[in-house]
């Protein structure tokens, strides 16, 4: 089954070399040798059917109005050892703590700007910077309560941070569902490994949200605010609301009266204390932001400013995951914590910097260019896979608005074995662990491993033909 398994310069998650699996993959390797492609295929079909019948779908935009698709699931688990995980855990805790301090600082005194560690114009020119947040006291000082950080494994086997997602990161429901499906499809194999559980994520998320409630409110009411059924992540919204036992609300279910947020129930209006919002800043409050938004709640920002309601995440956190500011995160960590970053960054060229820009424009065919405020794999140029027209187009775009782009070397993302067309073949993967920051930082051991299912592709996003697999963090 491994006949067409090929190696290249990327780190292989499973093998040291051909027929020589890494230690944690040994048991999986032996089990796979016992199975026929037909047996694997049957399991794949059983898994696919579970996803379809449960309606675990996402919506693809720009495709005939809202088509629901099942997110491709790969059968084989991705395995992370306990010692690898503990580095990830410490590194993310450090990073999130520092980024939260950074947000608090730039929306208040701005010391890091005065000290010239981060350039002022970079912050103020970011489109996710929100003046409305100046001097607003955020409950408990927690700007980023829910984070999903994208990690990649480099050629030397080290994890590095590719992106911080500090606004409304998604995908955690797939982490949980993938595990459910895995346990049903490979019960024996799962048992043979000592896999750390992820099932307590819902409980941990609820505790985190409760920690944000105004302190005088006994038994706070927590709700999840969704843009509605046509949002690409709607499945996840319903999944999380049910997991936590909280109400899933839309903007039209809420109203603000005298700076207090209420939801409309069959028994009349009920006060709301914490909103886990899965709506972007722009659409949150038509009075404060985009006035054409019908998804938000008029007056919400006033209630927020008055301290009568907590939002997770806070408004304006997108500034800290701007891809140009990303280059400064190591400095941010040193500045606030006086520590060396545990997880490295990827080398990043800032196109506002003349020498960087000159270099990037010379080497567009080798680099990856990304728009700073985009996510989901939109607005990207992958140099080695691009056409001359695409490169010319990006050259024009960069020259027109250099602040809006950054460039990075094309990474050889690590590759993990996937079951594809009756064969096991390696595909590029990343890893998105989910970090919660309420009273303290909590990271469930695991995350979402996203897979670029097209041979050779480096793009793992669900909207761009990616899939996912279960991620096992071993307990020893």
């Amino acid at each position: 089954m491994f006949e067409s398994y090929q190696f290249d310069q990327a780190y292989d998650e499973m093998f040291v070399s051909s027929d020589d699996p890494r230690l944690p993959y040994q048991t999986l390797y032996e089990r796979l040798q016992e199975l026929t492609p037909e047996a694997l295929h049957q399991r794949q079909q059983a898994a696919d059917l579970m996803f379809l019948n449960q309606g675990i779908t996402f919506t693809v935009y720009g495709n005939e109005a809202g088509i629901e698709r099942v997110w491709p699931y790969d059968l084989l688990p991705r395995i992370v050892t306990n010692s690898e995980w503990s580095v990830v855990e410490r590194g993310l805790t450090q990073r999130i703590t520092a980024l939260n301090l950074f947000l608090n600082d730039i929306y208040h005194a701005g010391k890091i700007l005065q000290d010239g560690v981060v350039p002022r114009d970079l912050v103020y020119s970011c489109k996710h910077y929100r003046r409305e947040m100046r001097d607003l006291r955020v409950p408990r000082g927690r700007y980023i309560a829910v984070v999903g950080t994208d990690l990649v494994r480099l050629q030397d086997g080290q994890f590095a941070v590719l992106e911080d997602n500090l606004r409304v990161p998604s995908g955690v429901s797939y982490m949980l569902v993938n595990r459910q499906v895995m346990k049903r499809v490979f019960p024996l194999l799962f048992q043979r490994y000592n896999v750390r559980p992820v099932e307590h994520y819902g409980r941990a998320l609820l505790t985190t949200l409760q920690a944000l409630a105004p302190s005088e409110r006994q038994n706070p009411t927590i709700v999840l605010l969704t843009p509605g059924v046509y949002n690409s992540a709607y499945f996840e919204h319903t999944f999380l609301a049910r997991l936590m036992g909280i109400q899933l609300v839309e903007g039209r279910d809420l109203l603000v009266h005298e700076n207090i947020v209420y939801m409309r129930t069959t028994a009349g209006l009920q006060r709301v204390d914490v909103i886990y919002r899965r709506i972007d800043d722009d659409f949150l409050d038509p009075l404060a932001f985009r006035s054409d938004s019908t998804l938000g709640v008029a007056g919400l920002m006033n209630a927020y400013r008055a301290g009568n309601v907590a939002l997770a995440n806070a408004v304006g956190t997108g500034i800290a995951d701007d891809k140009a500011l990303y280059a400064y995160v190591p400095k941010i960590i040193r500045y606030y914590l006086d520590e060396e970053p545990i997880l490295p960054n990827i080398e990043t060229y800032l196109l506002t910097n003349d020498s960087d820009r000159a270099y990037v424009l010379e080497h567009l065919d080798e680099l990856v260019v990304k728009a700073v405020g985009e996510s989901g794999g939109y607005g990207m140029l992958i140099g080695p896979h691009s056409t001359r027209e695409q490169r010319d187009e990006f050259r024009q775009r960069i020259l027109a608005d250099p602040r809006n782009y950054i460039a990075q070397p094309t990474l050889a993302l690590s590759r993990a074995p996937c079951f594809i067309d009756g064969q096991i073949e390696p595909r590029h993967v990343d890893l998105r662990p989910y970090v919660l920051y309420g009273d303290q930082v909590t990271i469930v051991p695991g995350g979402l491993t996203r897979v670029a299912l097209q041979r050779g592709s480096l793009v793992v996003n669900s909207s761009q033909g990616g899939g996912s697999k279960d991620t096992w963090v071993l307990s020893e």
Binding site: L52, N53, Q54, G55, G228, V229, Y234, F235, T238, F239, A241, R242, Q247, L248, V249, E250, R252, D253, L255, H257, M263, R264, T265, T266, A267, G268, L269
Partner: protein, 318 residues
């Protein structure tokens, strides 16, 4: 519970009931429709269209094949079975976290099945199997609902939706079949006999009727059975009882401000049926049923005004 959620549960349940009712009616009528090209068939088609309370272009209404296809598979026709199931599922999707996973999976499975069937030529030419699948799918959903969901406020709204739809659909069916029907004599001709049996069957009421009245078919008894029987789950009275009970529990749970009106309207409907006399009803069936339909409409809008789209300032400052 959120007003929007209550509304979605209500409509989810109503649309699924509607899909099942349409499937049953078509199933019963189809066989005869396709076989008889004579005058009684035309009359049956007209009745079928009237019982379903739909309006269709004449070209479709005259052609039995086009008619069944439009009412069954045409997703663009909001009265079709496929469209009703899609709407029910869409409402379920909006409240996925409120219903049990098993309920969602069942309605999703049903939806996927009818959508596949709608684009399959074999299914389209042999829709009988399709109707059976729809009926079974809807029954399974109801069973799963009762067995896996807490019988809380949300479940009560599901009951209200289901039985409002059922009461109204059964009443409409009766109205059509009794239009111009003056005789309260025993049915003798075989054609007429088949008509009445067909009508009972479209409410799955034939066997239940026989147990009470024997196989002697008598229009007045049919009217009594489908309107006033307290034990048969598709009778109007049974449905009105269920609506009233569910609304009563909802009023108690929410202690809503204007529940009095809802309670009164539902209670009045129930009393109308509890103490109805079939001989009096038979004197003017049409106006009796029109009056019932008016009461259903009043209850529907009272529920909406009390629990779903009440004006916010009526609560603030109270």
């Amino acid at each position: 519970m959120l007003s929007r959620v209550a509304d979605s549960l209500y409509w989810m349940s109503r649309y699924l009931e509607r899909a099942e009712h349409t499937a049953r009616l078509l199933d019963v009528n189809l066989h005869q429709l396709l076989e008889q090209a004579s005058a009684p068939a035309d009359r049956r088609i007209a009745r079928l269209i009237a019982s379903l309370r739909v309006t269709l272009p004449a070209a479709i209404a005259e052609d039995p094949y086009a008619l069944t296809s439009t009412l069954t598979f045409d997703a663009a026709n909001p009265d079709s079975i496929v469209a009703a199931i899609a709407t029910a599922r869409e409402n379920a999707r909006q409240v996925r976290e409120q219903i049990s996973s098993e309920m969602w999976e069942q309605i999703n499975r049903l939806y996927l099945h009818v959508r596949r069937a709608g684009s399959d030529a074999d299914w389209r030419s042999e829709p009988q199997q399709f109707y059976i699948a729809v009926k079974e799918g809807a029954h399974l959903f109801q069973g799963i609902t009762d067995a896996t969901m807490s019988h809380d406020e949300g479940w009560q709204f599901i009951q209200v939706g289901r039985f409002m739809e059922r009461a109204s659909a059964t009443a409409a069916l009766l109205n059509v079949h009794f239009a111009g029907e003056q005789s309260n004599t025993l049915v003798s001709t075989s054609l007429e006999y088949l008509d009445w049996v067909g009508m009972l069957k479209s409410c799955t009421a034939f066997e239940a009727y026989c147990k009470v009245y024997t196989a002697e078919i008598h229009p007045e008894r049919i009217a009594e059975f489908l309107l006033l029987n307290a034990e048969f789950p598709r009778s109007v009275r049974f449905a009105a009882d269920a609506v009233q009970r569910a609304l009563h529990v909802i009023a108690r749970t929410t202690s809503a401000r204007n529940a009095g009106r809802v309670d009164r309207l539902a209670g009045r409907l129930r009393a109308t049926l509890d103490y109805g006399q079939v001989d009096e009803i038979m004197l003017d069936m049409q106006s009796y049923i029109e009056q019932l339909q008016r009461q259903f409409a009043q209850i529907h809008s009272a529920v909406n005004n009390t629990y779903v789209s009440y004006p916010a300032d009526s609560v603030i400052g109270a």
